[in-house]
Symmetry: D2
Subunit: 181 residues, 4 copies
């Protein structure tokens, strides 16, 4: 059975994005990682430094090990300023280091994974969230990962998301599809 | 005379983005802030918490005070995974806190500023950087800031940017326009 | 009760886009116009000509009169080369003439209408259809029309669309929302 | 020497787009085709019809023969409603027929060509023209054509384009690059 990992990018516990994500995964075994609970340093670009990238003392490795061990990755993030949260961006930026990490074949392993994106936002997310979808598309395409789909929900106040009929239905379809696969 | 602040998002000193930005500002007085030298914590969303946002012990305030005192803001960032760097994203995310900071009228002051964007990237940046331009457009539009323009340069190896004739010319036009304004 | 007009942009009768649109409108009274059955000349830009725009002998006026008399407009088009069909583009281009037509206050009347978009495509439409969604956003925004939502379906062979669970569910949610409004 | 074909999409003679395009091609031998002078019927999708596509009595073949005989294609179009003109869209839509035309190997021949895009618009074209750039990217990518670059100019009133310093400089750089290649 395929192993599912959810990377939660929100800085707030139990927010709209998490609620929508939980709905999408109801009854489906999965692992959750909350990036806000992890210490992830912003990348220091050492691609062109003579010494190259050096080990970094933070929680990035824990997360990336979990990522490597799962088959399906769900990137769940609220729209922060029309992009993924800084927590998630700091995490993704570090992939540049993993690409050069000799302990594992990062790109090769990642290319076998399937990615999904779940985002929510308060300001016309189905329009203003599209650049983020396009950015994810470029990210996954670079890594040769399958971009299997995305859900965009609308909500501002806590719990709003449950009133977004369309997002709720999409989460339900997502759930059924995942269960039957 | 208008005061210019450059917010450098790169994690690497003297990289292509900085070179292009320096070219664009040659002979023009300006302040530079290097986000990589600052300690900026990722936002903790307290919009819906009873206690609201609390003071954060890091360098964000220093930067935002500089921002508020300048008229023209230049967001200079390499494309990291087809977005702004995590350093810059962590900074921008914190604006959500400033919007609720009673010490100043953040949105009102910001709405009088003019924004420019300078980005460079190695993988078809003039196509794959467009979602980031659209994201900046939504950011500035939300803040009622003028999005005066952007330059996209191509470069991978250190110094490459100087071979991007089009970006170099755009930096020159930008420079002349800024000097004559 | 609100009057609904569907503008069908497909050049093929009964294709996937029409099927999805019919599903979305099941049991809801509406008017359908098939642009392929109309003769619509491409615009001749006369904005700067001394004589201005002149009457054009084709079916455009019939369509625009129908448009003006309805409250909800549904732009239904297959993705042709990642954009709306030429039939629909020729129609929309002519709005530039209507904006200067003294017989009616085109922009003012249009600003009271609500717009929906339904598109289907065969090549990753949920990603590659996003520029078209953004284009429609700019179009409706220019006209001060409400962009109430969009559905993107996937299908290549005739009838494929019925296997796109997500699109079918979205059409159903759309249908219920329209019925209850 | 590489043969250059410009496909002019404007419906107006000598407008801003044409001026910018002429500037970009100053002193460089090339062929110009003005789509507004041609009769191009909108496509009738016969992919799934038993009889398939049938010969169409219009000027499309003349244009496509010219296209096939040139090495560099320049798509020059004003932004009409944030997209290419209907004239150009009707032309591109017909490629679906050429893909199935047994007289030539359309996709194979096209894949050897280099494409450039020149657009001008009056309403923030450097932002609101980006979906069109992304659409062209998908079009050329589908055809395996090289998307060598684009110029976006701003202009509303006739002749405005000459005041767009940035576009004028980009046209100059484009010109030099083409001359030296």
């Amino acid at each position: 059975m395929k192993k599912i990992l959810v990377l939660h990018g929100s800085s707030r516990e139990g927010g709209n994005t998490e609620q929508l994500t939980n709905l999408a995964l109801e009854g489906i075994p999965h692992t959750s990682m909350y990036l806000r609970e992890k210490h992830i340093k912003a990348i220091e670009d050492k691609r062109h430094a003579p010494e190259g990238f050096q080990p970094v003392d933070d929680d990035y490795d824990d997360i990336i090990h979990a990522v490597l061990e799962h088959d399906i990755l769900i990137f769940s993030t609220p729209l922060y300023w029309y992009g993924m949260s800084g927590h998630m961006k700091d995490f993704v930026d570090r992939w540049s280091q993993s690409l050069r990490d000799k302990r594992f074949h990062f790109k090769e392993i990642m290319s076998k994974k399937q990615a999904h994106v779940i985002i929510t936002g308060g300001d016309q997310p189905r329009i203003k969230g599209l650049p983020l979808i396009q950015q994810f598309q470029y990210i996954f395409s670079f890594m040769n990962m399958e971009f299997a789909g995305y859900i965009i929900g609308q909500g501002n106040q806590p719990g709003d998301i449950m009133n977004d009929r369309r997002a709720v239905e999409e989460a339900r379809v997502f759930n059924e599809r995942l269960k039957s696969s």
